[in-house]
């Protein structure tokens, strides 16, 4: 009890010591709390992203004999349901089109019946061209391409059970985003990742009911029961499950405002809604929960994501804890003074240890609690809306508990070692560090070098591992993460930190050499600064390392984030093709590029994407204009195997019949550059014509190309050989603002073109982790790095002032002008600042590169060149300089309060 009283007494009677310790711990705790809250908030982002493209939350499958209108009324009555729209689907066994006496047939597909308001409500099945009138259909682009039909042509559909139905094509419909509802709904097919049909015809509900459903026997099944799922090896897994020929459904949209942000909680809520509706339905229908299926993999993704976010913030947390060490340095005098006082009152060494460790624990707990409050404030300010949605109270309690325990324990441990050393020292010990003590254990054991070598080994052995996106059964990209990918950066970081400390200590030991240059720059004050730094070797080394690591931490996070954004853009460019893509509703030729050119558009190029046949296999042939394409689309060397981007384009230019083939095609058909390839390409009428090409190079990626099999050839050659000069779309590079360019393009091309831009594509292709905007985390990490730099340097300067009060008073007494004394403090700040910032940027860039390995698999292609955000890095350096200026101002203020006569009076 007496010791506890002394402990509390120590905390209260040494307010500066306690406050300094409190600030160090509070910063660490605030950073941990806010990063954990970012992780919690990211749950909302991930949930929102997972459901963003989901136009239909649930498919209510009606049992035979169930009245659609009665079921719709039952479903719509649930408070969570926003709308329930009828949707009927019938499989067809084949579709045939006869033109000019020759018949073209395609295989299986589906006929869909929709309400007039369905497309408006869901955004699905929008018409790219034409209209759908009674007795007419709009067909998917694939069906049109496969049959070679144009509006006005009739198509005969062979229905399950033997009947047929004939419809006239009146438009083209987009089936983008409809995979889940067009594909099989049974668990077996979905688990196998069964493909959705691409041959799709859309008509009114009444046409489907009267002319199709009535002709299909109730027991008929789809003739494609083995619509297999893609397996990881690229093959097809047969699925032995019956898919009925007809499905009558209600498509349900839920009120997303009621949906909890956390994926797990959201799934539980969806489950509750399903049970509630099914209970009322009493077996008349079955609820297929598409939303829940989309959220299924997210809980695991999110857990990995949170590990990643904490990992990115880990150096910051370590740095904040390192402040505890600087605090111990800064308050060493006060510790010694108080220890002497207690010794004089009869305290034993054990008592002293208990009192001081108790005070450290008390301030650590207080600082941790203070940090939780500050971190909660920061987290709420940055991600308030998402936090509320993800569960504010539970998130806060969890983050607060983790941050308090973690920082209290770690900060106590971080402060304990220097404290033990201070208590061992004699009270009258000199304040200077002139003695050459034995090097610390880690230096003698070369742990820094060992950690770096181990990191290098792990980096090489685990190369390429990291986060790997895979498509789940619902078609959503999900991620798996290799733990080993965290090991290398962790070892690099810890080994690098220790090596930096070793090197900086060695350099600072020689800082007397700075006497002359600093003297020239700052006068006698500069010379004093150099000598003072050499005298405070350990403390100076520590603060330079803390500053360097703070800068390194901020730099690595900025490099990581910039590369992450760069790859998001590259990914989007690969998917979209360029900044802008304009797809014509009616046939258009390459001359349309002239219509698009103008203000806001830097360059345009025509592009053809046609389904062709290499042997029996359908592939995408990309026909390009080699003269204009490079001005529109950035082609990376990594896109090509055995050639650079320029080399591949030169090869296409050199031979009109040159063709680039995908690695998969080259492997499957055992072809090498120079080989002849005969490909069946559709002409204007849709008839396949054999065209000869010569293989030039292998293309691994190409803008707009699918990931597996594709071909790239000259547009002029393909047009001339097939007599088909229609283009698929135009690509354009924006001149300045993307949105303005998109508007200008839409205005110039008119309503017959659909213009999409990179901005919307970036959001659409994001997977569960990459959908999280890292800017909040970057802001947190960089902000705390700057704060740590400022506090670290301020503590060093204040500790220096505390140690050198008499020395500075002597200087003033023998005639140092105020500016000369200030110059000595400025000189120390300059040396510490320049050394810290320069080494920090260099090591930060290196750490940033190793961090990229973690995300090597997220982007396709992986980042081969990291992005260095020069502007942001410069801004960060300016902010750090301002922060050092603030630390300097604090020190100057403390300097101005020194009473010269008071200090010189012998105590």
């Amino acid at each position: 009890m007496k010791l506890f009283r002394h402990t509390v007494h120590l905390v209260l009677r040494e307010p500066r010591r306690s406050l300094a310790a409190l600030i160090g711990v509070a910063i660490a705790s605030a950073l941990i709390t806010s990063v954990l809250l970012f992780g919690t908030a990211s749950g909302s982002t991930v949930t929102r992203r997972a459901l963003a493209d989901l136009r239909v939350d649930a498919q209510v499958v009606l049992e035979q004999g169930t009245s659609p209108s009665a079921a719709a009324a039952t479903v719509a009555a649930d408070p969570a349901v926003r709308s329930a729209m009828p949707f009927d689907l019938a499989h067809f066994d084949a579709a045939t089109s006869t033109r000019n006496g020759s018949a073209t047939q395609t295989s299986v597909g589906v006929l869909v019946g929709l309400d007039p308001g369905y497309s408006r409500s869901t955004g699905l099945f929008s018409l790219s061209s034409g209209v759908v009138k009674p007795g007419q259909i709009a067909i998917s682009r694939d069906l049109a391409s496969n049959l070679g039909v144009v509006p006005g042509d009739p198509i005969v559909f062979a229905l399950p059970g033997g009947a047929s139905a004939t419809f006239v094509v009146s438009g083209i419909v987009s089936i983008a985003g409809a995979d889940l509802i067009l594909g099989p709904i049974d668990a077996a097919h979905r688990a196998a990742g069964a493909n959705a049909p691409v041959n799709v015809a859309v008509m009114s509900l009444s046409d489907l009911e009267t002319r199709v459903l009535s002709a299909i026997p109730p027991t008929a099944i789809a003739s494609d029961p083995g619509a297999g799922g893609a397996n990881p090896a690229g093959g097809v897994t047969p699925v032995f499950a019956v898919d009925p020929a007809v499905r009558r459904e209600l498509h349900v949209q839920l009120d997303h405002a009621q949906l909890p942000g956390d994926p797990g909680a959201a799934q539980a809520w969806l489950d509750t809604v399903r049970r509630r509706v099914e209970r009322v339905g009493a077996g008349s229908f079955r609820w297929v929960d598409d939303a829940s299926a989309s959220l299924e993999p997210l809980a695991k993704d999110l857990a990995w994501g949170q590990i990643l976010f904490i990992f990115l913030a880990l150096p910051g947390i370590a740095l904040a804890l390192a402040l505890s060490r600087l605090v111990a340095d800064a308050t060493a005098d006060s510790t010694r003074r108080h220890a002497a006082l207690l010794r004089a009152r009869g305290a034993t060494a054990g008592d002293l240890r208990r009192v001081f460790v108790g005070a450290t624990v008390l301030t650590a707990i207080g600082g941790a609690a203070l940090g939780v409050a500050a971190g909660a404030g920061v987290g709420f300010a940055l991600f308030g809306r998402d936090l509320v949605s993800a569960g504010l109270v539970s998130g806060l309690l969890r983050a607060g508990a983790i941050a308090t325990v973690l920082t209290a324990v770690l900060a106590t441990a971080a402060a304990f070692l220097p404290l033990r050393a201070q208590l061992r020292e004699e009270i009258a010990m000199g304040r200077q560090e002139l003695q050459r003590g034995r090097a610390p254990l880690w230096q003698r054991l070369f742990l820094d070098v060992i950690a770096l070598l181990a990191g290098l080994m792990v980096y090489v052995l685990a190369g390429g591992s990291g986060i790997h996106p895979v498509l789940n059964a619902e078609g959503n990209p999900t991620v798996t993460l290799a733990l080993t990918s965290f090991v290398a950066p962790l070892l690099f970081w810890s080994g690098g930190t220790l090596l930096l400390l070793r090197l900086v200590t060695a350099v600072v030991r020689r800082s007397r050499r700075l006497t002359a240059p600093l003297g020239r720059f700052l006068g006698p004050g500069g010379e004093l600064a150099a000598r003072s730094l050499a005298a405070r070797l350990a403390a100076a080394s520590r603060v330079i390392v803390v500053l360097a690591l703070a800068v390194s931490f901020a730099t690595s996070v900025l490099v990581f984030d910039a590369t992450y954004r760069q790859q998001q853009r590259v990914d989007a460019q690969l998917t979209l093709g360029a900044d802008l893509k304009a797809v014509p509703a009616e046939p258009a030729t390459a001359s349309a590029a002239g219509m698009l050119a103008g203000p806001g558009i830097a360059a345009t190029t025509p592009f053809v994407d046609r389904v062709v046949y290499v042997g029996p296999e359908a592939q995408d042939l990309l026909a390009i204009d080699t003269a204009t394409l490079p001005r529109v689309v950035p082609l990376a060397d990594a896109f090509f195997s055995g050639s650079t981007a320029a080399g591949a384009l030169d090869a296409l230019r050199a031979r009109p019949d040159a063709i680039l083939v995908s690695a998969e095609t080259a492997r499957d058909y055992s072809i090498v550059p120079g080989d002849l390839i005969r490909i069946r390409v559709p002409d204007t009428n849709g008839n396949l014509k054999i065209v000869d090409f010569t293989m030039a190079w292998i293309a691994l990626e190409f803008p707009t190309a699918p990931k597996d099999a594709f071909l790239v050839a000259n547009l002029g050659y393909v047009s001339a050989q097939t007599g088909n000069d229609r283009i698929s779309f135009l690509l354009a590079r924006a001149d300045g603002d993307l949105a303005s360019a998109s508007l200008a393009a839409t205005r110039r091309l008119g309503s017959g073109w659909q213009v999409s831009d990179l901005g919307t594509t970036t959001a659409r292709i994001a997977n569960s982790i990459t959908s999280v905007d890292l800017s909040g985390l970057v802001l947190l990490d960089v902000g705390f790095a700057i704060l740590i730099a400022a506090v670290g340097v301020a503590l060093f300067l204040l500790a220096g002032l505390a140690e050198r009060r008499r020395e500075l008073a002597t200087l003033i007494a023998i005639g140092a002008e105020p500016r000369q004394v200030r110059a000595s403090i400025l000189g120390e700040t300059l040396v510490v600042g320049v050394a810290g910032i320069v080494t920090g940027i260099a090591t930060g860039a290196l750490v940033g590169l190793t961090l990229l390995q973690i995300l090597a698999g997220v982007f396709d292609p992986p980042a081969d060149v990291p992005a260095f955000p020069i502007g942001l890095l410069a801004g960060m350096v300016v902010l750090i300089v301002v922060a050092l200026g603030a630390a300097l101002a604090v020190a100057m203020r403390a300097l101005s309060r020194i009473s010269v006569v008071g200090e010189l009076r012998e105590r």
């Binding site: 050499a534 005639g815 006569v901 012998e906």
Partner: protein
């Protein structure tokens, strides 16, 4: 010629919740050029505060002081610092040496502050160190010296600019009797050689007895003459 003219000098300190105390109370005295003056008094009598006022380290709450013709109250902090570095040498009881600097660098510090070049600084500091018998210790570390040697370094630093006025605050206070008398002898001889004025604050009557002029200080008040 007077090097110091103090008129009704008063310096007041406010304590924690107690009435303000006059550490220096209405002190008036003059010191002439080339003289050796001692100010005696017990601890807490205000001697160091008075010395601080004479050195321009603090400004009086009342009264005025002219040092070497300059009214310190009218000078800025920088001007007072320049006056000290060029014309006033100070010797401290606790030596006032900077442990991170070698002996020679400590001695040449006032010259560095005055902007003198390194080479000239070294020559002058070596000369004055030889004068105090420590020429061989120019590159020694402070912690390698004894107490007496440290104070001789302190004396050398006070003398290195050949100041007109030397203020010594209990220079023997941290030394044993033998070392103390050596240091005083050294200091007085060096001052006499230069023709400078010396103000010695001390509570040691033996040191004070060497002075040309003696003052006593009690409770902030200064009286002329030796103690009874």
């Amino acid at each position: 010629m007077r090097v110091i003219e103090a008129r009704s000098l008063t310096r007041r300190f406010a304590g924690n919740g107690v009435e303000p105390v006059n550490a220096v109370d209405d002190v008036t005295f003059d010191i002439t050029a080339g003289s050796f003056t001692s100010i005696e008094g017990p601890s807490g009598s205000g001697k160091t505060t008075l010395l601080g006022l004479l050195a321009g380290l603090e400004l009086p709450d009342a009264g005025s002081v002219r040092v070497l013709g300059h009214d310190l109250g009218r000078l800025s902090a920088a001007e007072r610092a320049r006056l000290r570095v060029r014309q006033i040498g100070i010797v401290f009881q606790s030596f006032g040496l900077i442990a991170s600097l070698r002996v020679g660098d400590n001695v040449s510090l006032p010259l560095a502050l005055a902007g003198m070049l390194q080479r000239e600084r070294r020559m002058r500091s070596l000369a004055v160190l030889e004068e105090v018998g420590l020429g061989a210790a120019v590159d020694a570390r402070i912690d390698e010296l004894s107490g007496g040697e440290r104070q001789r370094v302190g004396v050398a630093r006070a003398l290195v600019t050949d100041p007109t006025l030397i203020l010594a605050d209990e220079p023997t206070g941290s030394l044993d009797e033998a070392n103390g008398s050596d240091v005083i002898r050294l200091l007085v001889e060096a001052v006499r050689r230069r023709g400078s004025s010396l103000v010695l604050v001390t509570h040691d009557p033996a040191s004070a007895s060497l002075a040309d002029d003696r003052y006593q200080m009690r409770d902030g008040r200064l009286t002329h003459g030796a103690s009874a």
